[in-house]
Amino acid sequence: MSLYLKLFLVFMKIGLFSYGGGNAILPLIKQEIVINNLWLKSSEFTDLVAIAQVTPGPIAINAATYIGYKVGGIWGSVISSVALILPTFIIMLLITTMFTKFKENRYVKEAFSGILPATVGLIASAAIMVSFGSFVDYKSILIFACVFIAGYVYKVDIIKLTVVSGFIGFILYR
């Protein structure tokens, strides 16, 4: 099988079977890339996770682009990223058009009455997973507290908060 086709199929599979977003997707990617296809070594995958944390945007896209490039150059990175997005795009588009129609349906409403509180828990778990290794000393706890109060109570712009906390980190930990 051609390499590009293989990349396309593997990342389409990852796109189709990854739920929850962010770090929750990483174990599945590791399974496919490191164990099933031997495209990266385990240590290279750890590097990739670190790089994905320091680059903008969705982690799954970061991973697809990086692995695609390492395996098949620029075209590899394009093919992997497109393959990752394609199933999500099609499914979400279909669901969006249907959801507007079935939103008022009794059963849809009842199912959502359970799913909505679970969603709150899923976002909380995203926060918990990022927190592992984030609190290294009292200074990082202080940054957390300041950003939380500024964002929640004073509704400070999130982009400003991100830029300022990166700058503070640079000053404090350099």
Binding site: P27, T65, P117, S125
Partner: protein, 191 residues
């Protein structure tokens, strides 16, 4: 009917692309970290969707496979400007992730050993935790979570973050739970 490009939509389509590009460029920590920014832009600044719609959309994104950022971009893009809108929002949400990683993969291989970059991220990580905690509280408030239903998000958070349970099982179980609860309530209302 499925909407597609329309003359009056071209401005919106550009606006969607620029807004999502800006959101994804200033997000580190992945798709879920984009949610507070998406809420700020789409609900409060641009008024593309309501607060209630935002929460529904987040629940939908969690129920559908793939990156959350792509799901939300497609949803908001479609609402604002049809299929053309969803394509442009999705491109905006993914482009900077693609370009940044490509540049790094080509030119730098040891970025995570750079001391200055490391220091910036020591400051960013606790901030991202706070930025993710804020929507949790806000959503819990607008969903009117009470002492009885708070068990659902708590159990979900524990199962996913400490036991690596796949989110799809949680979505299926909580959806079925919601249906069963509704069924029970209807039965007791009838008798």
């Amino acid at each position: 009917m499925v909407k597609f490009f329309g003359g009056e939509n071209v401005g919106n389509i550009m606006d969607l692309f620029v807004t999502f590009l800006k959101i994804s460029t200033f997000t580190v920590g992945g798709g879920p970290a984009m949610l507070p920014l998406i809420e700020q832009s789409a609900v409060y600044d641009k008024k593309w969707i309501t607060e209630e719609e935002f929460i529904d959309m987040v629940a939908l994104s969690q129920s559908i496979p793939g990156p959350i950022a792509v799901d939300t971009a497609v949803y908001i893009g479609y609402k604002v400007a049809g299929i053309g809108g969803s394509i442009s929002a999705m491109l905006g949400a993914t482009l900077s992730a693609f370009v940044a990683i490509l540049v790094i993969a080509i030119y730098f291989t040891n970025l995570n050993q750079n001391k200055a970059v490391d220091a910036v991220f020591m400051g960013l990580r606790p901030a991202v935790v706070a930025l993710l905690a804020i929507p949790v509280l806000k959503m819990a408030k607008s969903l009117k979570i009470n002492p009885k239903t708070i068990i659902i998000p708590i159990v979900t958070a524990i199962l996913v973050s400490f036991y690596n349970i796949n989110a799809v099982y949680i979505i299926i179980a909580s959806g079925l739970g919601g249906l069963a609860y509704g069924c029970m309530r209807r039965r007791s209302a009838r008798s």
